[in-house]
Symmetry: C2
DNA sequence: CCGATATCTCACGTTCCGCTGATATGTTGG
DNA sequence: CCAACATATCAGCGGAACGTGAGATATCGG
Protein backbone atom coordinates (compact mmCIF):
# COMPACT_ATOMS: atom_id res chain seq x y z
CA UNK A 1 0.00 0.00 0.00
CA UNK A 2 3.07 2.25 0.06
CA UNK A 3 3.72 4.66 -2.73
CA UNK A 4 6.83 4.52 -4.87
CA UNK A 5 8.96 7.47 -3.84
CA UNK A 6 11.89 8.76 -5.85
CA UNK A 7 15.21 7.51 -4.55
CA UNK A 8 16.98 10.75 -5.34
CA UNK A 9 17.74 13.01 -2.43
CA UNK A 10 17.21 16.15 -4.46
CA UNK A 11 13.88 17.31 -5.87
CA UNK A 12 13.35 17.24 -9.61
CA UNK A 13 13.71 20.59 -11.27
CA UNK A 14 12.60 19.41 -14.70
CA UNK A 15 8.97 19.34 -13.60
CA UNK A 16 6.92 21.75 -15.66
CA UNK A 17 3.60 23.35 -14.87
CA UNK A 18 0.63 21.99 -16.84
CA UNK A 19 -1.78 24.31 -18.63
CA UNK A 20 -5.02 24.28 -16.67
CA UNK A 21 -6.63 27.51 -17.86
CA UNK A 22 -9.60 25.80 -19.53
CA UNK A 23 -10.16 23.50 -16.59
CA UNK A 24 -10.09 26.29 -14.02
CA UNK A 25 -12.47 28.38 -16.13
CA UNK A 26 -14.92 25.49 -16.33
CA UNK A 27 -14.51 24.70 -12.63
CA UNK A 28 -15.14 28.31 -11.65
CA UNK A 29 -18.49 28.14 -13.41
CA UNK A 30 -19.38 24.84 -11.74
CA UNK A 31 -18.22 26.02 -8.31
CA UNK A 32 -21.52 27.83 -7.71
CA UNK A 33 -24.54 25.84 -6.55
CA UNK A 34 -26.99 27.76 -8.71
CA UNK A 35 -24.95 27.48 -11.91
CA UNK A 36 -24.16 23.81 -11.38
CA UNK A 37 -27.83 23.02 -10.79
CA UNK A 38 -28.79 25.01 -13.89
CA UNK A 39 -26.38 23.03 -16.06
CA UNK A 40 -27.65 19.79 -14.57
CA UNK A 41 -31.31 20.67 -15.14
CA UNK A 42 -30.65 21.81 -18.69
CA UNK A 43 -29.11 18.41 -19.33
CA UNK A 44 -32.63 16.98 -19.38
CA UNK A 45 -33.95 19.55 -21.85
CA UNK A 46 -34.61 23.27 -22.19
CA UNK A 47 -36.14 25.28 -19.36
CA UNK A 48 -37.14 28.90 -18.88
CA UNK A 49 -35.81 31.20 -16.18
CA UNK A 50 -38.88 31.13 -13.95
CA UNK A 51 -38.97 27.34 -13.94
CA UNK A 52 -35.41 27.02 -12.71
CA UNK A 53 -35.74 29.91 -10.30
CA UNK A 54 -38.77 28.26 -8.71
CA UNK A 55 -37.05 24.88 -8.52
CA UNK A 56 -33.98 26.39 -6.88
CA UNK A 57 -35.82 28.77 -4.59
CA UNK A 58 -33.83 31.64 -6.06
CA UNK A 59 -34.90 34.99 -7.42
CA UNK A 60 -35.36 35.22 -11.13
CA UNK A 61 -32.92 38.07 -11.63
CA UNK A 62 -30.31 36.05 -9.77
CA UNK A 63 -30.86 33.04 -12.01
CA UNK A 64 -30.80 35.36 -15.01
CA UNK A 65 -27.45 36.69 -13.83
CA UNK A 66 -25.98 33.20 -13.63
CA UNK A 67 -27.42 32.32 -17.02
CA UNK A 68 -25.66 35.37 -18.45
CA UNK A 69 -22.37 34.04 -17.09
CA UNK A 70 -22.99 30.64 -18.64
CA UNK A 71 -24.06 32.28 -21.89
CA UNK A 72 -20.89 34.37 -22.11
CA UNK A 73 -18.90 31.19 -21.55
CA UNK A 74 -20.79 29.60 -24.45
CA UNK A 75 -22.20 26.76 -22.36
CA UNK A 76 -25.87 27.68 -22.88
CA UNK A 77 -28.03 29.36 -25.53
CA UNK A 78 -31.25 31.36 -25.16
CA UNK A 79 -34.25 30.78 -27.40
CA UNK A 80 -37.58 32.58 -27.22
CA UNK A 81 -40.64 30.40 -26.84
CA UNK A 82 -42.51 30.09 -30.15
CA UNK A 83 -46.07 30.68 -29.00
CA UNK A 84 -45.32 32.69 -25.84
CA UNK A 85 -42.38 35.00 -26.45
CA UNK A 86 -42.29 36.17 -22.84
CA UNK A 87 -40.39 33.04 -21.88
CA UNK A 88 -36.70 32.70 -22.54
CA UNK A 89 -35.92 29.03 -22.88
CA UNK A 90 -32.34 28.02 -22.28
CA UNK A 91 -30.60 24.98 -23.71
CA UNK A 92 -27.12 23.62 -23.26
CA UNK A 93 -24.49 23.83 -25.98
CA UNK A 94 -23.50 20.19 -25.82
CA UNK A 95 -20.27 20.74 -27.75
CA UNK A 96 -19.11 23.37 -25.28
CA UNK A 97 -20.24 21.24 -22.36
CA UNK A 98 -18.28 18.31 -23.73
CA UNK A 99 -15.20 20.52 -24.07
CA UNK A 100 -15.55 21.62 -20.45
CA UNK A 101 -15.93 18.00 -19.38
CA UNK A 102 -12.78 17.03 -21.26
CA UNK A 103 -10.84 19.94 -19.73
CA UNK A 104 -11.83 18.83 -16.22
CA UNK A 105 -11.04 15.21 -16.99
CA UNK A 106 -7.61 16.29 -18.20
CA UNK A 107 -6.85 17.37 -14.66
CA UNK A 108 -8.46 14.47 -12.78
CA UNK A 109 -7.54 11.74 -15.25
CA UNK B 1 -31.27 22.53 -35.62
CA UNK B 2 -34.12 23.97 -33.57
CA UNK B 3 -34.66 22.78 -30.04
CA UNK B 4 -37.90 21.14 -28.96
CA UNK B 5 -39.70 23.64 -26.78
CA UNK B 6 -42.62 22.73 -24.55
CA UNK B 7 -45.97 23.50 -26.14
CA UNK B 8 -47.51 24.51 -22.86
CA UNK B 9 -47.88 28.20 -22.24
CA UNK B 10 -47.20 27.84 -18.55
CA UNK B 11 -43.86 26.87 -17.02
CA UNK B 12 -43.50 23.52 -15.34
CA UNK B 13 -43.66 23.70 -11.58
CA UNK B 14 -42.78 20.06 -11.03
CA UNK B 15 -39.13 20.72 -11.80
CA UNK B 16 -36.99 19.90 -8.80
CA UNK B 17 -33.51 21.09 -7.93
CA UNK B 18 -30.75 18.51 -8.32
CA UNK B 19 -28.25 17.86 -5.54
CA UNK B 20 -24.94 19.32 -6.66
CA UNK B 21 -23.14 19.70 -3.34
CA UNK B 22 -20.40 17.20 -4.17
CA UNK B 23 -19.87 18.64 -7.62
CA UNK B 24 -19.63 22.22 -6.40
CA UNK B 25 -17.19 21.20 -3.68
CA UNK B 26 -14.97 19.47 -6.23
CA UNK B 27 -15.29 22.37 -8.67
CA UNK B 28 -14.35 24.90 -5.99
CA UNK B 29 -11.10 23.03 -5.44
CA UNK B 30 -10.39 22.86 -9.19
CA UNK B 31 -11.29 26.52 -9.72
CA UNK B 32 -7.86 27.65 -8.58
CA UNK B 33 -4.93 27.50 -11.00
CA UNK B 34 -2.45 26.32 -8.39
CA UNK B 35 -4.65 23.54 -7.02
CA UNK B 36 -5.69 22.32 -10.46
CA UNK B 37 -2.06 22.18 -11.59
CA UNK B 38 -1.10 20.32 -8.40
CA UNK B 39 -3.75 17.68 -8.99
CA UNK B 40 -2.65 17.34 -12.60
CA UNK B 41 1.03 16.99 -11.73
CA UNK B 42 0.29 14.46 -9.00
CA UNK B 43 -1.53 12.41 -11.59
CA UNK B 44 1.88 11.41 -12.96
CA UNK B 45 3.25 10.37 -9.58
CA UNK B 46 4.17 11.80 -6.18
CA UNK B 47 5.98 15.12 -5.82
CA UNK B 48 7.25 17.18 -2.94
CA UNK B 49 6.21 20.76 -2.16
CA UNK B 50 9.38 22.44 -3.41
CA UNK B 51 9.19 20.64 -6.74
CA UNK B 52 5.69 21.83 -7.48
CA UNK B 53 6.35 25.29 -6.11
CA UNK B 54 9.33 25.66 -8.44
CA UNK B 55 7.37 24.35 -11.42
CA UNK B 56 4.50 26.75 -10.76
CA UNK B 57 6.62 29.76 -9.85
CA UNK B 58 4.76 30.00 -6.54
CA UNK B 59 6.02 30.33 -3.01
CA UNK B 60 6.32 27.15 -1.05
CA UNK B 61 4.08 28.26 1.80
CA UNK B 62 1.41 29.12 -0.75
CA UNK B 63 1.63 25.68 -2.35
CA UNK B 64 1.61 24.15 1.12
CA UNK B 65 -1.56 26.06 1.87
CA UNK B 66 -3.30 24.71 -1.22
CA UNK B 67 -2.09 21.20 -0.44
CA UNK B 68 -3.67 21.51 2.99
CA UNK B 69 -6.99 22.33 1.31
CA UNK B 70 -6.69 19.30 -0.95
CA UNK B 71 -5.65 17.15 2.01
CA UNK B 72 -8.67 18.20 4.08
CA UNK B 73 -10.85 17.32 1.12
CA UNK B 74 -9.23 13.89 1.02
CA UNK B 75 -7.94 14.24 -2.53
CA UNK B 76 -4.23 13.94 -1.63
CA UNK B 77 -2.09 12.26 1.02
CA UNK B 78 1.29 13.29 2.46
CA UNK B 79 4.12 10.81 2.90
CA UNK B 80 7.60 11.55 4.25
CA UNK B 81 10.49 10.63 2.04
CA UNK B 82 12.18 7.44 3.25
CA UNK B 83 15.83 8.45 3.05
CA UNK B 84 15.38 12.22 3.35
CA UNK B 85 12.58 13.00 5.78
CA UNK B 86 12.75 16.71 5.11
CA UNK B 87 10.67 16.24 1.99
CA UNK B 88 6.94 15.77 2.18
CA UNK B 89 5.88 13.82 -0.86
CA UNK B 90 2.27 14.13 -1.88
CA UNK B 91 0.25 11.58 -3.79
CA UNK B 92 -3.31 11.58 -5.05
CA UNK B 93 -6.04 9.49 -3.45
CA UNK B 94 -7.28 7.99 -6.67
CA UNK B 95 -10.53 6.79 -5.13
CA UNK B 96 -11.39 10.28 -3.96
CA UNK B 97 -10.30 11.77 -7.29
CA UNK B 98 -12.53 9.31 -9.11
CA UNK B 99 -15.44 10.29 -6.87
CA UNK B 100 -14.86 13.95 -7.65
CA UNK B 101 -14.69 13.15 -11.36
CA UNK B 102 -17.98 11.28 -11.19
CA UNK B 103 -19.63 14.14 -9.28
CA UNK B 104 -18.58 16.62 -11.96
CA UNK B 105 -19.66 14.29 -14.74
CA UNK B 106 -23.04 13.99 -13.07
CA UNK B 107 -23.57 17.68 -13.77
CA UNK B 108 -22.10 17.84 -17.28
CA UNK B 109 -23.34 14.45 -18.47
C1' DC C 1 25.50 21.54 17.85
C1' DC C 2 24.44 25.03 14.45
C1' DG C 3 23.08 26.82 10.13
C1' DA C 4 20.54 25.76 6.11
C1' DT C 5 16.65 23.52 4.27
C1' DA C 6 11.72 22.01 3.86
C1' DT C 7 7.37 22.49 5.43
C1' DC C 8 3.51 24.27 8.09
C1' DT C 9 0.38 27.58 10.30
C1' DC C 10 -2.01 31.76 10.61
C1' DA C 11 -3.28 36.68 10.92
C1' DC C 12 -3.76 40.33 7.78
C1' DG C 13 -4.92 43.04 3.66
C1' DT C 14 -6.65 43.05 -0.83
C1' DT C 15 -9.41 41.34 -4.24
C1' DC C 16 -13.09 38.71 -6.08
C1' DC C 17 -17.82 36.91 -6.11
C1' DG C 18 -22.64 36.33 -5.30
C1' DC C 19 -26.94 38.34 -3.67
C1' DT C 20 -29.87 42.20 -3.46
C1' DG C 21 -32.56 46.12 -4.82
C1' DA C 22 -33.72 49.22 -8.31
C1' DT C 23 -34.54 50.10 -12.90
C1' DA C 24 -35.32 49.09 -17.83
C1' DT C 25 -37.19 46.43 -21.83
C1' DG C 26 -40.34 43.61 -24.04
C1' DT C 27 -44.63 40.67 -24.11
C1' DT C 28 -49.14 38.97 -23.19
C1' DG C 29 -53.93 39.49 -21.73
C1' DG C 30 -57.91 42.00 -20.88
C1' DC D 1 -53.72 50.84 -24.15
C1' DC D 2 -52.50 49.47 -19.70
C1' DA D 3 -51.44 46.35 -16.01
C1' DA D 4 -49.20 42.21 -14.94
C1' DC D 5 -45.63 39.21 -16.20
C1' DA D 6 -40.89 37.47 -17.69
C1' DT D 7 -36.43 38.70 -18.17
C1' DA D 8 -32.24 41.58 -18.21
C1' DT D 9 -28.84 44.83 -16.41
C1' DC D 10 -26.15 47.02 -12.98
C1' DA D 11 -24.41 49.49 -8.84
C1' DG D 12 -23.46 48.48 -4.25
C1' DC D 13 -22.81 45.76 -0.22
C1' DG D 14 -21.09 41.89 2.61
C1' DG D 15 -18.54 37.76 2.92
C1' DA D 16 -15.30 34.46 1.22
C1' DA D 17 -10.90 33.34 -0.89
C1' DC D 18 -6.16 34.10 -2.37
C1' DG D 19 -1.35 35.64 -1.66
C1' DT D 20 1.80 37.50 1.62
C1' DG D 21 4.75 37.93 5.59
C1' DA D 22 6.13 36.37 9.97
C1' DG D 23 6.99 32.85 12.98
C1' DA D 24 7.27 27.88 14.40
C1' DT D 25 8.75 22.99 13.82
C1' DA D 26 11.52 19.43 12.11
C1' DT D 27 15.35 17.47 9.57
C1' DC D 28 19.80 17.12 7.33
C1' DG D 29 24.76 18.44 6.56
C1' DG D 30 29.00 19.75 8.38
Amino acid sequence: MSIRLPVIGQPRLDLEAPDVTEATAAAALLADRTRAAILRMLGDGPHCVCEMAAALGERENNVSNHLARLREAGLVRAVRHETNARFQYYERDEAAVAAARRALQGVLR
